[in-house]
Amino acid sequence: MSALHIKKGASKHSAYNLRPTFSDLQERHTIAVLVENEPGVLARVIGLFSGRGYNIESLTVAEVDHTGHLSRITIVTTGTPQVIEQIKAQLGRIVPVHEVHDLTVEGPSVERELAMLKVVGDGDKRVEALRLADIFRANVVDSTLGSFVFEITGAPEKIDAFADLMRPLGLAEIARTGVAALLRGE
C-alpha cells in the first residue's frame, strides 16, 4: 500500500484544493479512499454519491490491510472541478474514512482493470477471436468447442477496444472489475 500520510482537512498539502479555479468543464478523476473495513462503510460511500447526485463511473473495493482492517475504494467519477472538490471533502467527512486521495491531481498514476469476456462462435470467427486475444495479451481461462472465456487486464480504454473487436465475433457476456489505481513512483 502506498504511504498515505496526508492529514485530512489540511488547507495546504491536501487532497482538498481549497482555492480551486472554478470551471464548468466536466473532468474525470480517479479517487482513492482508505476506509475502515466495518459493516456498511461501502453503503456510506455509495449513499453519499447517490444522495448528493454525484456520478460514479466505476468503483472497486477490497480489503488491502487485513490486520488493520482497512479497505481501499477506488472511484472513478466525473464532474466540474467544484463538484470534484465537494466529493473529496464530503468523503473526508465520513467518520470511518481515513484518507482521501485524488490520484488525478496528485500525480501520474497507473490505472488497471480486469475483465472477462465470453465469446461464442465457430469457424473463422473463433480463430479471429483467438488471434486478436493474442495481440491484446488476453488469456484464455475457459474453453469449450463453441466458446472461449478471455481474461484481459489493462487500462479501461484497452478493455473497451478489445470488447468492441469481440462484439462482431460473438461476444456473449462481459464482466469487468472496475478500475484499481496507484500513484506512480515512490
Partner: protein, 574 residues
Amino acid sequence: MLVQALKDQGVDTVFGYPGGAVLPIYDEVFQQNDIRHVLVRHEQGAVHAAEGYARSTGKPGVVLVTSGPGATNAVTGLTDALMDSIPIVVFTGQVPTFMIGSDAFQEADTIGITRPCTKHNWLVKDTDRLSGIIHEAFHVATSGRPGPVLVDIPKDVQFATGTYTKPSPTASRYQPRLKGDLEEITELVAAMEKAKRPVFYTGGGVINSGPAASQLLRELVEATGFPITSTLMGLGCYPASGKNWLGMLGMHGLYEANLAMHDCDLLINIGARFDDRITGRIDAFSPKSIKAHIDIDPSSINKVIKTDIPIVGDVAHVLEDLLKVWKSRGRKTNAEAVAKWHMKIDEWRKVDCLAFTASDKTIKPQQALARLEALTRDRDRYITTEVGQHQMWAAQYLTFEDPNRWMTSGGLGTMGYGFPASIGVQMAHPESLVINVAGEASWLMNMQEMGTAVQYRLPVKQFILNNERLGMVRQWQELLHGERYSHSWSEALPDFVKLAEAFGAKGIICKDPADLDDAIMEMVNYDGPVIFDCLVEKHENCFPMIPSGKAHNEMLLGDAETQGVIQAGGAVLV
C-alpha cells in the same frame, strides 16, 4: 452497562419512550437515580427535546427509544439535528441479533434508514464492544462539526454481560482539525487591515464552538469596530444591544444587514455555511467582496460560494489566533473608511424595515412579539420556535444577548420542533422562563407533548400566534401562485383554552390589543405550563423579504407592491 456509560459521559437527562426491544435497558434505568428519564409522548418529541437540551446547554442530548417505529419516528429529529449541527446521541433497541433480517416484530433496518441522517451510526453485535462504541458515539457527536449519532443495540446484546471500558479521550481515531492555518489567518488579518467596508457574517458554528468563541467574537468586533450580522442559527453569539449589530440577514433578514452584505468589500464568514436562505441569487451575492470563510468542516468551503481566504478550524481556536496576529501587527484597521461605512449603514437603518402599523382592533403578530420582547427582555429567558412566519418575526423582534438562548429549526425547517424543544430546554434550566413562539399549525404537529409538560411540571409557555392559516405557505401562494390559497388554512382548530385545561394546564386567549400586556404577564407569572392563544391578523405578510431568485439589494419592504415580483426563474426555487 449503558447506564454506567451514560453516567461516565456526564449525562443527567435522557428523553425516551420504552418498548419491547429496549426493556432490559429500561429495567436498568428503573433501578438507579442518577439519570433522569423524561417520558415523552412520541419519539420525534424525544429527539427535539434532546436538541433543545443540547442547544441550551452545549452538552449532547440523549435519547432512548425502541426498535422499528421507535426508530423511524426519530428520523425527522435526527435529520433536523444533522442540518443544524446539534450533538445528540440516540440509542435504539433492535430485535435480537439472531432475528435480524427475518422481518421480526418491530424490526426495521435502523442503521440503513438513519445512515444518511446521522453523522455516524453503529450496530452493536457484541456486548464487549458496547461501552467502547457508546464512548466513541459521544466523541463523534461532540467533536468537529457536531451532529446526531445513533447506536442500535439488539436485545440479546442488552441482556448479555460483557467487559466495561472507561471513556478515554485519546482512544478515538476521529480527531478533526481545530487550529486554523496561520498563513491563511495572517492573510485574513492583512485583508482586515485594508478593508473599507468589512462585515462579519456569523452563524451557528460560533455557538457550537462554545462560550469562548462568542467571547472572542465580541472582543474582535469591539476591537475592530466592524459591523456584524448573523444567520438565524447564530443569533445571540453577538449581543443584539451591541453597537455594531446589524440584525439577522437573509431572506427575511434586516434591510441594513442584507445591503451591508451586498455592498461590502470584505466578507468574513465565521461558522456559517452560505445557506440558500442567506445568499439569495448566487451570481449576485455580495459581488464586490473578498470572501473569507472560517469553518470546521472542509466540505462547507467552496460548496456554494467561492472563497478567497479559506480557514479550516474551530471558531474559538481560529479567532484566538486571529486576534493574536492582528494585535501583534499593531491592531490596524482602516478606521476612517470604516467610519464612513458605518454612516452608510446608519442611512439604511433609517429605513426602519421592521416598522409596522399597530391596530387597536386586531393584534398584529409583530406587535404581539414586540410586546413579548418588551415584557420579558430582562428575564432569564430561553426562546424556542416552530417554523413559519412566526419564526421569522420572532427572529426579527426578539433580541438575544447571549448564545444558547435561541433554539429554532433552521436547516430542515421542521414544523413541530419548538414545543418538544422547549421541554428539553426547561428540563435543563428548570428555573428559567422558557417560551415557545409558535404558529397554531406547527404547534398542533407535536401537541401530544402537553402530557409531558404537565407530567414533569415544566412551566413552558406556548405562545401561539394564531392566524388560522399556514401563514408562510399562504404568503407564498399570494406572491407566487395567484392568490390561490390551496390548503393553507387551519380548519377545525381546537379551542386552545379548553385543550390546555383538558391536559391539566392553563389556557389563555387574547384577541384585543388592549389586553395583550396583561395577558402576557399572566402567562409569564403563572407557575406551570400555559397555552397562550393569541388571535392575530390573518393576512399579515412577513417582511422584509428577498424573493427567491433575487439579490440582496432587491428586497421587498412591508409596503412593497408584491404581486408578480417573483419571476418564473425564482418560482421553481423554494
